[in-house]
């Protein structure tokens, strides 16, 4: 495998940049949705249902004559919002448990890690499904429940990092100075564990978006008329052979976004992991 090193360097992170571009592209769409959308996403037009893509309706219309393009654009907001908040919740819980567990060790550590082990045994989708049904499917519940069932990975990650960092000199030095544990955790350890967490979070967003779409498939995701990619795609499912535009566009949106977050996350991992990037 003799390869030109120079080309390799240019090439090396191309997928990560692609991912980054995708992620930014969709964040911009979410922010500027009102300016990009050509129609009101919830405006019903019964005179024009299931119209094919055209100049006025770029992505066609759905079963109630709503503009699919505008719905996908606004759906970006909901889907990304769901992804971010769900991951935010899981990261906060994960950071807290991970830091405490790794830093203090002992019984606390054992208890937390046992809890993590137990939670990891459950098919997360089963738990999500049960809780969402017993509560009520809504944007808030979907986000919270996804968040509450996906913090275990972050916890393990943070704990492992914390364990290795707490033996380093600067932590020992801080301890000797009688700096409070909380301060050490926040000032010295947190900044050092945040990078891998960031990678995990990036991948987590992708997972959350997919989970929402799977819930939507079962009718338990974000409820219409609020457009989310998941529920637009699900509405298009029954027309998959007939009105292809109803499923293809939201499907592509999910697919490209999830791909983007994954490429970004994986690229970052390569970039930030000293062992791997050394090669």
């Amino acid at each position: 495998m003799v390869k030109n090193n120079f080309l390799k360097r240019i090439n090396k992170y191309i997928l990560m940049y692609l991912g980054l571009a995708i992620v930014f592209f969709f964040i911009l769409i979410a922010i500027f949705a009102p300016f990009i959308a050509t129609h009101n996403p919830t405006d019903i037009n019964l005179a024009n249902v299931l119209a094919e893509p055209s100049k006025t309706h770029f992505f066609g219309t759905d079963e109630l004559g709503r503009d699919v393009f505008s719905r996908v654009i606004y759906g970006t907001r909901i889907s990304i919002f769901v992804g971010f908040v769900a991951v935010g919740i899981s990261v906060i819980i994960g950071l807290f448990f991970g830091l405490v567990s790794g830093y203090f060790g002992g019984l606390v550590d054992t208890l937390i890690m046992r809890f993590v082990d137990i939670m990891l045994c459950f098919p997360a989708f089963f738990l999500i499904l049960a809780v969402i049904t017993f509560l009520e499917p809504s944007v808030t519940n979907v986000m919270v429940v996804i968040g509450l069932t996906s913090w275990m990975g972050v916890t393990r990650l943070v704990r492992a990092e914390t364990l290795s960092i707490k033996t380093r000199d600067f932590v020992t030095a801080a301890k000797l100075q009688n700096i409070s544990n909380v301060k050490i955790l926040v000032k010295h350890i947190l900044p050092n564990v945040i990078t891998p967490v960031f990678v995990a979070a990036t991948l987590g967003v992708a997972g959350a978006i997919l989970t929402e779409s799977a819930l939507s498939f079962l009718g338990l995701g974000v409820q219409p008329p609020t457009p989310s990619w998941g529920n637009i795609l699900t509405a298009g499912k029954d027309n998959i052979t007939f009105a292809w535009w109803l499923s293809v566009f939201p499907g592509l949106a999910i697919f490209i976004t999830v791909l983007g977050y994954n490429l970004l996350g994986e690229g970052l991992r390569d970039l930030l992991d000293p062992k791997i990037s050394k090669k």
Binding site: L46, V49, E136, P225, K237, D238
Partner: protein, 564 residues
């Protein structure tokens, strides 16, 4: 169906729509189906003489039907879902049944008579009827079935019509008399209930009986096997008292996703399934489909409505309710939600039924009229914020429906948009079924609902519309109270004469149309596809399946050959 079982019936709808939450057309799946006169029904070129002797028709082949949900319990008095009843209808018989024109006719009973005081019915049973295990059926089985239903330890939902029976006397093995405490018109209907085998159930707890999963009846088909979640197989009962059926096997295949089911139909693995309006109108017009399948459409036994909580100040004025109905584009809703496959509903009966009153007040879509009515009722936009108000209260409310039924969600979105034009702010809430029932409907804690009822063959309106049924888990949950209507309903229950009874229900429909406690939306069509090799199919007011025993496959068209 007994009148008090409306509730069970909505649950039937709910089970279908909730379990198969991909089912876009939950309302259209009901056991008994009627045919609209003005809908195009493919003419069958079969030798439609019903007197054809069975032996002329070839015996063989299998029919595969697709179903979203599985059955739950094959002792029909214990189950409330439509799939179980559908299967049970092939396996068991009642004393009576509805014929193709929805007239009551004998099934296990060859005739019956009513006493002069209308308080007792005498049934003369058919002789020589055998249970599938070879035992002879007689009057003991009928009495046993009655005793089982009213037994307090039997968890059945169908007991109330039997509890008003004073006693049952066996006159001889094939004659049985039922004495009622008072005349009760819906009583006859209750004898369409499946009769159970005494010799197999008498010494076991019914909830522990193996018949729940391996039923034995007197019906035209015998139970073969049930693979939970996969399929239920029945085979022709060759010694059926009404002549053996022609199709050798009946298989119900359970496919929870409607898109998958449709693909299985296209692939030829299913012969018979309900179509969604979308499939019916858009996806079944290819030449290949038309070569293989016949499509049928007929009015289903259900209607959709928007119900208003009449305990809520907003809806107490009937002009407000009339205005809301005027602002509901029923035709447009049928057009877009059902792709035109439905009829405007004006009351609780089907447009093609004997009880339906065609001359009630109709509310054609008219926003101007609606606005006038609201102004009359005192609703004005006095603070110019775009929404109506009255005495400082804004006209805004929440419209709820259950999740898993996309038609209802769409209806909610459409009326929300239309009522907004009147200056009414509507918030939509879509909720999981059990939560909606337990937390909102049962506690009367709602403003308005998009819901559906099944329409039973027995026309009694007592449970849904009588003012005494407004509390607790009763079905008049909108609390409609109208003395005049109460009296009509009570009188109709005592009236056996069909024409007199109809007059009463005509009046009832006029009252409901004027008062608009519901905005009646539509009666959807049942839409089905059936493989063309099946002959002898004759759509009638009773639907399609009523003469299933007479269907047959000509030998040259046979698809499956049986080794047995």
């Amino acid at each position: 169906m007994t009148p008090k079982n409306y509730f069970i019936l909505i649950l039937i709808i709910a089970t279908i729509t909730v379990i198969g939450c991909t089912d876009k057309n939950g309302e259209s799946e009901n056991a008994n189906k009627n045919v609209t006169e003005n809908k195009s029904i493919p003419k069958q070129t079969s030798n439609s003489n019903t007197d054809d002797s069975q032996q002329d028709k070839p015996f063989g082949d299998i029919i595969f039907e697709g179903s979203i949900g599985d059955a739950s319990n094959l002792i029909p008095i214990l189950s409330t879902d439509s799939v179980s009843h559908q299967i049970a209808s092939h396996i068991y018989n009642g004393l009576l049944k509805y014929d193709k024109n929805l007239k009551l006719t004998g099934d296990l009973a060859k005739s019956w008579e009513l006493s002069n005081d209308k308080k007792s019915i005498t049934f003369h049973l058919k002789k020589g009827v055998k249970w599938h295990d070879g035992k002879i059926f007689n009057a003991d089985d009928v009495k046993f079935t009655y005793e089982t239903i009213i037994d307090d330890s039997t968890p059945t939902a169908y007991d109330s019509d039997f509890r008003i029976i004073d006693n049952i006397t066996i006159i001889d093995d094939y004659t049985i008399r039922v004495n009622y405490q008072k005349p009760f018109a819906p009583a006859l209907n209750s004898w369409t209930m499946s009769i159970l085998p005494k010799h197999l159930l008498e010494n076991v707890k019914i909830t522990e009986s193996s018949l729940q999963r391996n039923p034995i009846g007197t019906g035209s088909y015998e139970f073969v096997k049930w693979n939970p979640g996969e399929s239920i197989t029945l085979k022709a009962n060759k010694s059926y008292f009404d002549g053996r059926p022609n199709i050798a096997k009946y298989v119900l295949k359970i496919i929870p996703d409607s898109t998958t089911m449709f693909m299985e139909l296209l692939k030829g693995n299913l012969d018979f399934m309900s179509l969604t309006p979308l499939q019916y109108s858009k996806q079944t017009n290819t030449p290949k489909f038309k070569d293989n399948f016949e499509k049928y459409t007929y009015l289903s036994n259900s209607y959709s409505y928007i119900g208003y909580n009449l305990r809520n100040e907003l809806f107490k004025d009937k002009r407000v309710r009339q205005a809301l109905t005027y602002a509901t584009p029923k035709e447009k809703i049928i057009e877009s939600v059902l792709f035109g496959e439905g009829h405007v509903a004006t009351g609780p009966y089907k447009p093609d039924s004997f009880w339906y009153n065609p001359d009630v007040k109709r509310y054609e879509y008219n926003l101007e009229k609606a606005k006038e009515l609201l102004t009359e009722a005192g609703w004005e936009d006095s603070d110019n914020n775009g929404y109506l108000d009255k005495n400082g209260r804004e006209f805004s409310f929440t419209l709820m429906t259950n999740q898993g039924n996309s038609n209802r969600a769409k209806i909610a979105e459409i009326v929300q948009e239309n009522w907004k034009k009147l200056g009414i702010k509507v918030k939509i809430r879509i909720m999981e079924w059990a939560t909606l029932i337990n937390e909102y409907i049962d506690k009367r804690n709602f403003d308005a609902l998009v819901m559906g009822w099944s329409i039973p063959l027995e026309p009694d309106l007592y449970d849904v519309w009588h003012s005494s049924k407004c509390s607790g888990k009763n079905l008049n949950f909108i609390c409609y109270e109208n003395d005049e209507l109460d009296k009509i309903i009570e009188k109709a229950r005592l009236t056996f004469d069909q024409d007199k009874r109809r007059k009463l229900y005509y009046k009832a429909q006029e009252i409901l149309a004027e008062d608009q406690p519901y905005t009646f939306l539509y009666v959807p069509n049942a839409l089905v596809a059936l493989h063309k090799r099946f002959k002898g199919v004759e759509p009638a007011p009773a639907g399609l399946m009523y003469n299933f025993e007479d269907w047959y496959v000509p030998e040259n068209l046979r698809k499956y050959s049986l080794t047995q």
